[in-house]
């Protein structure tokens, strides 16, 4: 107890501090925006060909309600799909782990299912589920399923050296092996899946919305580009990017924490 300092790692910077530092890393993007702005102004380009970054931000500033509503719609569907894919991918990986028969059945199905391009799935799913939020949700869930299924599946077998024999000698039952050994062993891999899936969740939701023209940022992008409203189209993309990057930064910090504790 007196030496409890040995048990704690060095102090971590706060979450806010880390996000601030991450944003500082985006100075390169700020530079590009300034150069872009200068290029458009100096050459006097048509706004339909190339809008000014300033005009994009001005459009967001002028229509906060519209942007926020669409952003929330897309973010909600992306998160929901991510969680569904996570539950399905992790559960099926555990089922495949638990029995050889299920493994022989589920692994090929999972792989085939995951190798179909999303774009090809959209019309089929839209016909089954309708041109609505359910289909977008399903597409994000399918996109997220694959990394969780594959990475959790391999992580369940990445056991510390000798631990499988140890559990045999302990007389551990199957469920004890799962909860005390295999699942904790799989956690670092599982966070990798979370990182990969989050990077694609908002993008996937937007693509689906774009192709079906239902709602959210994707639909906004679609409508704006039909109307040659380039500022709005770019504004929708900026919102999506901000959402993606924020999610990514959160997940990466979680992954670092797990890695720190597990290795």
């Amino acid at each position: 107890m007196s030496q409890s300092a040995t048990a704690n790692g060095p102090a971590r910077p706060s979450l806010v501090g880390r996000i601030g530092r991450t944003l500082l890393n985006f100075w390169g993007i700020a530079l590009i925006l300034v150069l872009w702005e200068a290029l458009v102004v100096l050459n006097d380009f048509n706004v339909i060909v190339m809008p000014r970054p300033w005009a994009v931000f001005a459009d967001i500033w002028a229509n906060p309600g519209l942007y926020l509503q669409n952003f929330m719609q897309t973010a909600w569907v992306a998160m929901g799909g991510l969680v569904l894919g996570m539950i399905a991918g992790t559960t099926i990986a555990v089922l495949a782990w638990s029995s050889r028969i299920l493994n022989g059945l589920l692994t090929p199905i999972g792989l085939i299912f995951s190798s179909i391009p999303v774009v090809a799935m959209i019309p089929v799913l839209a016909r089954m589920l309708g041109y609505g939020t359910e289909t977008v949700l399903a597409i994000v869930a399918i996109l997220s399923f694959f990394p969780f299924f594959v990475f959790t599946g391999s992580g369940l077998k990445l056991l510390p050296a000798g631990s499988a024999d140890l559990f045999s000698v302990f007389g551990a039952k199957k469920h004890q092996r799962l909860f005390h050994l295999a699942l904790p062993s799989a956690l670092p891999n599982w966070t990798v899946a979370l990182r990969l899936a989050s990077a694609n969740a908002i993008l996937g939701a937007m693509v689906a919305e774009f192709l079906m023209g239902t709602s959210g940022l994707g639909q906004m992008l679609h409508a704006a580009s039909q109307a040659f409203n380039t500022e709005r189209a770019l504004g929708a993309s900026v919102c999506a990017t901000i959402g993606s990057v924020t999610l990514f930064v959160l997940v990466v910090s979680l992954e670092a924490r797990v890695r720190e504790r597990w290795t």
């Binding site: 107890m1 040995t6 510390p160 024999d165 004890q176 504790r261």
Partner: protein, 263 residues
């Protein structure tokens, strides 16, 4: 102190163990091996690398089944002892779970056995192996010797009837190893569990064991059994006596016969 009239703790009767290799050949690791460990006896197993020492231990732990012959532990099949959680084991690779603290690693056998954790017993063992103050540390924050001490504490926590140690100090430097031998002797003297220790080190075997069994090169076979004459409790000073040195030389000669051209 050693009672060899009752059923022995471990009994090997003409055991042969062969492995089928991927290329179809068979490899015989142990051939026609008979040995026994009495109740409350500490037996050390010496032998050249690859002679089947670990295989022998794994047979006792029920991790392998003999190709022919019989293995009995407490007069029963090894699996029965495993099911009753009466077997303690420590491997060369400590097999600690990196995501658990020292205390949680030592408590793990209670959880697997479905018994309430005896906190005083866990704390007592932590003190016994000299890790007081490190209860909340994780394995990666410990030195190699400390990790092995955690593994030994874990092997003892359920008060096993049989203790199996597979080169628990094999990865340590000579000085730490000697220190660990002294500690293990002290720990063992408090419990007198029937113990089978596998080792490469002749001094370690002589200092710790009541009896030393030497196996031949592969396929392994008992070539020599030596009753260790030193009284218990043993002070580390016995390792400096002429008798100790003479026995070390004798056993080393049995292990690696020179061609008569001694010094």
């Amino acid at each position: 102190m050693t009672d060899r009239t009752a059923a022995p703790a471990i009994d090997f009767r003409g055991v042969t163990k062969s492995f089928r290799l991927p290329d179809g050949k068979t490899l015989t690791a142990l051939t026609d091996t008979s040995l026994s460990v009495g109740k409350g006896e500490f037996v050390a197993l010496l032998g050249p690398s690859g002679c089947g020492k670990s295989t022998l231990l794994r047979l006792v732990a029920g991790l392998e089944a003999p190709s022919s012959g019989a293995v009995a532990v407490e007069g029963r099949a090894p699996e029965e002892l495993v099911k009753a959680h009466r077997l303690g084991i420590a491997f060369q690779e400590h097999a600690l779970l990196p995501w658990l603290t020292v205390r949680q690693n030592i408590e793990l056998p209670f959880r697997i056995a479905g018994r309430p954790v005896m906190r005083e017993r866990v704390q007592g063992l932590i003190n016994l192996v000299g890790l007081a103050g490190f209860e909340a540390a994780r394995p990666k924050q410990l030195s190699g010797g400390m990790r092995q001490r955690v593994a030994i504490a874990r092997s003892l926590v359920l008060e096993p009837e049989i203790l199996l140690l597979d080169e628990p100090f094999g990865a340590l430097d000579a000085v730490t190893r000697r220190q660990m031998n002294v500690e293990l002797q002290r720990i063992w003297s408090e419990s007198r569990i029937s113990t089978l220790l596998v080792t490469h080190a002749v001094e370690e075997a002589l200092f710790l064991a009541d009896r030393v069994i030497v196996l031949s090169g592969r396929p392994g076979k008992v070539v020599r059994t030596l009753e260790v004459p030193f009284a218990r409790p043993r002070h580390p000073d016995v390792m400096r006596t002429a008798q100790f040195h003479q026995l070390v030389d004798e056993l080393t000669e049995t292990l690696h016969p020179t061609d008569g051209a001694g010094h």
